[in-house]
């Protein structure tokens, strides 16, 4: 019995030397890891399914005793601005993700494929702009937008996000484009394809996975941003969801269950998108063109 167990585990262990012989450890750490990672999500959903009465009951339990969707209904009926805010958030996020994708693909392709004067400084500026603290640029940008009377505008916010994410998106895509063999493009050129034709018909179709991954990072960044949006937007009608949570937090009365309901609603789309596109992101960051 002992012998068979041992030989079985030895066989499955052939390719994982790090934890050889310690069979329990992976499961133990995996469970601990899942608990650490998932607890805040569970807590959030659990709070959102409570009535206020149950929230203020001091013997709070992990799971609600009488699950109810009351907070979601109250959130929707008591906050007339919410619909507007949801529309704002979705349009800002989609617009900036789309623009970032288009411009960073173009820029990344140029940097990866062509040698031109200023290529190195340009690449360096991109590298710097993606890593320096955004707050440094945000202050003067705020001043400029303020003097141009462009504050409090969701369209401008989308453009600022676009600028924000172009450097990192370009950076990721340069690494990807360099791995596409240039024979494909040469063959297309010989067949009479124009430069734009090569880019649009050969390069773009080959890069859909990488573009999904880049789009995902941009989407998550725009969707979850708080600092930029709260700085550039003022009036209630222009708010995005992350600032929108603030209006549930009054100075006398904080609607915690509604905050958690809205938090859940904000989180669900990102998590779904993320679980769907995660593998492309992992591949891109790993620098491979695995299909």
């Amino acid at each position: 019995m002992n012998h068979t167990l041992l030989s079985k585990s030895a066989r499955s262990d052939r390719h994982n030397p790090t934890f050889k012989r310690i069979r329990v450890l992976p499961y133990f750490t995996a469970v601990a890891l899942c608990i650490i990672v998932l607890t805040p999500f569970i807590i959030m959903v659990s709070y959102s399914l409570r009535s206020n009465a149950e929230l203020y009951n001091f013997n709070i339990s992990l799971f609600p005793q009488n699950p109810t969707l009351e907070s979601y209904r109250a959130l929707w009926t008591q906050n007339p601005h919410l619909k507007r805010i949801v529309v704002n958030t979705i349009s800002v996020t989609i617009l900036s993700t789309a623009l970032t994708l288009v411009f960073s693909t173009m820029m990344g392709y140029a940097i990866a494929r062509f040698r031109f004067a200023g290529r190195k400084p340009l690449w360096f500026i991109l590298a710097m702009t993606q890593s320096i603290p955004w707050i440094i640029a945000l202050i003067p940008l705020y001043m400029t937008l303020s003097s141009l009377k462009l504050l409090d505008d969701t369209g401008i916010l989308a453009l600022v996000y676009t600028a924000c994410f172009i450097p990192v998106a370009t950076w990721l895509l340069v690494g990807f484009f360099k791995k596409i063999p240039s024979e494909l493009e040469e063959a297309a050129r010989i067949d009479g394809c124009s430069q734009w034709g090569v880019f649009l018909r050969i390069i773009i179709p080959l890069s859909t996975n990488a573009m999904c991954a880049v789009g995902l990072t941009t989407f998550i960044g725009c969707w979850g941003d708080y600092i930029t949006a709260s700085t550039l937007l003022k009036s209630k009608g222009n708010w995005t969801l992350t600032i929108g949570i603030m209006f549930l937090q009054g100075s006398f009365n904080t609607e915690w269950t509604q905050i958690m309901a809205l938090g859940t609603l904000i989180t669900v789309p990102v998590v779904v998108l993320f679980l769907w596109l995660e593998r492309y992101l992992v591949n891109l960051m790993a620098g491979g063109i695995k299909e």
Binding site: H15, N16, P17, T18, F19, P26, T29, A30, C34, I36, V37, L38, P40, F41, M44, S46, Y56, N57, S61, F103, M106, M107, A110, F114, F116, R119, L122, I125, A127, M128, T129, S131, I132, W134, I135, I136, L138, I139, P140, Y142, M143, L159, V160, A163, C164, P167, W196, Y226, I227, T242, W256, M260, G263, I266, T267, V270, F274, V282, M285, A286
Partner: protein
Amino acid sequence: MFILELLLPGMLFTGFCIVFPIAKSFVMSVTNWDLLRSAEGHGFVGLQNFKDFFTLSHAAKTIKVSLAFAVVTVAGTILSGLLTALLLNTRFTGRTFVRGVVMLPWAIPGFVACRVFLLALNPDYGMLSHLLGNVFHVDSATFLSQELPAFILVTSIHVWKFFPFVTVMLLAALSTVPKTLYEAAALDGAGNVRQFFSVTLPIISPTLTTLVIMEAMRSLRTFDLVYLITMGGPNYATNVIGNDIYHNAFRLFKMGLASAQGVVLFLVCMLLVIPYFKREGRELMS
């Protein structure tokens, strides 16, 4: 021409929204730019803002806290990222599930995560505060009111949110380690620990170095978690530099002072990343 067409939109965006503002912040840092007194105009004040920054009563503490925050969060994200990557690199049932799940903290909006943690640690109806109080006899009211617990809280949330990124990068690096090396090492009688230090570590160390720099930059850059949890308090115990800049700029409207701080931060970041980007740049140009 084609190249220019490709580059132009991206360059316009980054130029207008990032490069130009940074240049402008250098100019603003030597003026007494104050939004509340904009009618008086903004004159040249030399290095006064820099002097003001370093003579602020909490300047020393802000610098100390920023450094401590960077060191602790970098160590935390790298270590937990490395451990989880090593774990997920082994084979076990359910690995695909864990791999998918482990990245989730990175996806949740920081704002939402902060609200959840604040509620969960609420002394009256927080689940975590009940757990901490009943099981570990820790009073969760101290988390926001005392210096060290507050610091531990914000660093923990930062690590929780950003270690998945390290995990994914390291998993990619680990997958490049040739299996034959482990077999050879095992034949030579190397144990798990020895294999890690003699085989795994040398191969993934370039990735590790990159990640340390990237995470250090992230620690200097990210202050929204701090801002949303403690606002820098209590008594500046979590007042990282980004939070201080934001506070000076958008709460006190001292744009000159905030820009001077920004310039200092910018130069520190340059020192950190230039060596790294030089190396990366050489690879790109090859």
